[in-house]
Symmetry: C2
Subunit: 449 residues, 2 copies
């Protein structure tokens, strides 16, 4: 295989009518789109028209606090992306799924099926679910702490990988004359017994087109980074500056190497929010339109949840400094660290902090002309801060349409982004190989610990 | 609302390359179709072309014994039917899901989402999973007995119904100027606490187009019939003769009435397998082609599992009589009763019994011309044995294509079957109303017991 030149990878994070909390209040937004499959079909097809690597839906198995203030991730992301598989043909399909509030057999089976029905485009964004409100929908007395969640996640992934590898690629014989449909000697029980799970296997599904669905991971906590280094094919992260992006990139690639994996096969995709205008002034005016429509109640509730501080009576125009996170406890660790860092390195009022967070929630925000947005992407890509980006359109479909129509052609002209899909699977788009079947020790690292 | 004339309801049971265990061995069968989404898209569209009410996939969350002998329900049915929502627009979408090996929040969320993304075409075929091999994929020490499974199923459905009703229909306000997206006072926690589940709710999804997805149920055991009478909108059943069909029909309608429900709103759909030919002789020759390709090993393993008897060394050409089921124990109770009844009322060799079961697995088998098949349907429909049928094509796509092209026009000409879909939701097709939101005692009958 000839080594291809490195390519920018672009994923679209599709959150109902846009990631920005005020997107739904824009005059042009159709609030009915939140549960309208036609809306999601149009934005998925738009992303495919732009030759993006994948589309991606977040997950939250509970009704969020302050749902009166904005639409949220309402529809089940897996069901939604499965439905979109039928109206797209090339783009990768990433659904988030919690290892805390699912069982490994069920998840492994659903994602293997998605990989079959999408003909090799399935990916699972593995999360441990940071928000405690999910616990009471699943009969838990309390939400497990992060270390417990990550220990379960590692074993969960071991089981899922083993299930996906429980069939040899050639197990279906289809010998009509001899009356042998599959060769049972090429299908293997996994007989997993671990601290969290007992799963006999095998899966009842032939090995899928990609061998295993692609694994995405996010989270910048220590256990999150270690989990990603061990299992992930691609990593989402929130890095507001190129320097922070470079530090994270170097850190993760070193962790991947320490796991005995090739760092070139694990892609790092920081989030990128963007406000595009014909001129820089127009872009800033566009951003301001969103910020003028934000509701402080929503941002304050979010910030209070992340920091554990009650900020409901804090003056909006007073300077705020979020103290560092106490020890290694609490959920949303990376988010807490981020707002601590932001308020320690700059003087910000609460209102300014909320506006900063509402625009990108701690992600890099590119505000400018299409040329400026493209230049930011290339700068990060060429300077060891990113292998591509997780695009975070503030409003949908409009922000994504502007990106596809105005920024994508510039990236294609400069060379590091595809003008056509070269392969048909998500692994093809990402430039990562289909894994061979692995069994025994390799597939059961956590059980051996 | 003007009362419409009673209509035949037809559902297509789509099992990979056909329900008949030898379908995969026919010369024309593409064995690769088992995991090929193109195959499923074509048969779903074929069923929609035939104006059928719904398509339906079974479920089995474990690899079956004797999988070397025939293809099985490999792909996850929910994922598959969600994928098919995008390439169909009218036909109902029924996926089977186990109440034993799922949690109610997850299932309620996925089916509510399917109802949104299909624009009101979702249905859940509720099963308790009769096959014990699933237990060891989900960390169970043993498969729960039927009574335990049905008790859990009833509470599971109470929780799912309450979650689907946790939003008032008008909860989304979408007041951009006032900054109020939803009215939280119109969204209600369910705070369910029962013997099997604790679920706080609410669901994070607005009430779906059908209010609640349609509920299908099957199984002819006593607890199965009671569960169906209480919760189901439509019931699948296996009845080999019109007399047995009439007895079952009368029994279920009485049970529905005893639950305080309108018997007209609960549809009874016996299974119908069919072999169609230009002449009766051609139809029987077609059926014989399947039977000549059956593998006794498969049927014997199935029969041994259902009856608990080891039949592996029983002579194929000896007369067999299956003894009655011992007391009220064991799984697959209705199946056991059926083979007992078959072998008590007729003299059958093991080979003949296996052929009988392979053709229809205890369902009515219509073998004849299109006119004869249509006449069977109308006879059952007009004589208190059925509200329609669950069609069981022995081979796919061919048997379904023959039915759609040759039998459907006859039913349409005779009047009791639609020539066009009149509504857009599955409830519209079935002629059952969208339920109003129910809360409190009505929604929590099992918790109050």
């Amino acid at each position: 295989m000839v080594k291809k030149p490195r390519q920018i990878h672009l994923n679209a994070f599709l959150r109902n009518v846009g990631q920005h909390e005020a997107a739904w209040r824009l005059p042009e937004t159709d609030t009915g789109a939140v549960t309208d499959i036609g809306h999601y079909q149009r934005i998925a097809q738009l992303a495919e028209k732009g030759k993006l690597d994948a589309i991606f839906f977040a997950d939250h198995p509970a009704l969020k606090d302050r749902s009166e203030d904005r639409p949220w991730d309402s529809l089940d992301p897996f069901t939604l992306i499965a439905a979109l598989s039928g109206v797209t043909s090339k783009i990768g399909l990433v659904a988030t799924g919690s290892t805390t509030y699912n069982d490994p057999y069920g998840i492994a089976r659903r994602f293997a099926t998605l990989d079959h029905v999408s003909r090799g485009r399935a990916a699972w964004n593995v999360v441990t679910t940071a928000n405690a409100s999910a616990a009471e929908n699943f009969g838990f007395d309390q939400h497990p702490d992060p270390d417990a969640r990550y220990a379960r996640a590692a074993e969960f992934l071991d089981v899922a990988f083993a299930l996906w590898d429980s069939w040899d690629d050639d197990a279906i014989v289809g010998d009509k004359a001899g009356g042998v449909f599959v060769d049972r000697d090429r299908i293997h029980r996994i007989d997993h017994v671990g601290p969290h799970f007992r799963v006999a296997g095998p899966l009842e599904i032939p090995r899928s087109p990609q061998g295993r669905p692609v694994i995405f991971q996010a989270g910048s906590s220590e256990p999150g980074k270690d989990l990603a280094a061990r299992y992930a094919d691609a990593i989402f992260t929130a890095q507001p500056t190129i320097e922070e992006g470079q530090a994270f990139y170097a850190d993760i690639k070193a962790r991947v190497r320490a796991q005995g994996r090739d760092p070139g096969t694990v892609l790092i995709l920081p989030g990128l929010s963007f406000f595009i205008g014909g001129t820089e002034a127009e872009a800033f005016a566009r951003r301001e339109q969103f910020e003028d429509l934000t509701l402080p109640t929503y941002g304050i509730a979010q910030l209070s949840r992340v920091t554990g501080l009650d900020l409901s009576s804090f003056e909006l125009d007073s300077l705020i400094r979020i103290p560092p996170r106490p020890a290694d406890t609490g959920n949303q660790r990376s988010r807490h660290d981020l707002v601590h860092r932001l308020t320690s390195t700059e003087d910000l009022t609460l209102r300014q902090l909320l506006r900063r967070l509402s625009a990108g929630r701690g992600h890099r925000i590119a505000t400018g002309t299409p040329e400026q947005v493209a230049a930011t992407i290339v700068e990060w890509f060429e300077n060891g801060a990113a292998d591509g980006f997780n695009l975070i359109p503030p409003a949908l479909p409009n922000s994504l349409a502007a990106f596809v129509e105005e920024v994508v052609p510039l990236l294609q002209r400069r060379g590091p982004f595809r003008t056509e899909y070269e392969g048909s699977t998500l692994r093809d788009h990402l430039g990562i190989e289909r894994p061979a079947v692995a069994r025994g020790a390799a597939a059961f690292s956590s059980a051996a610990e």
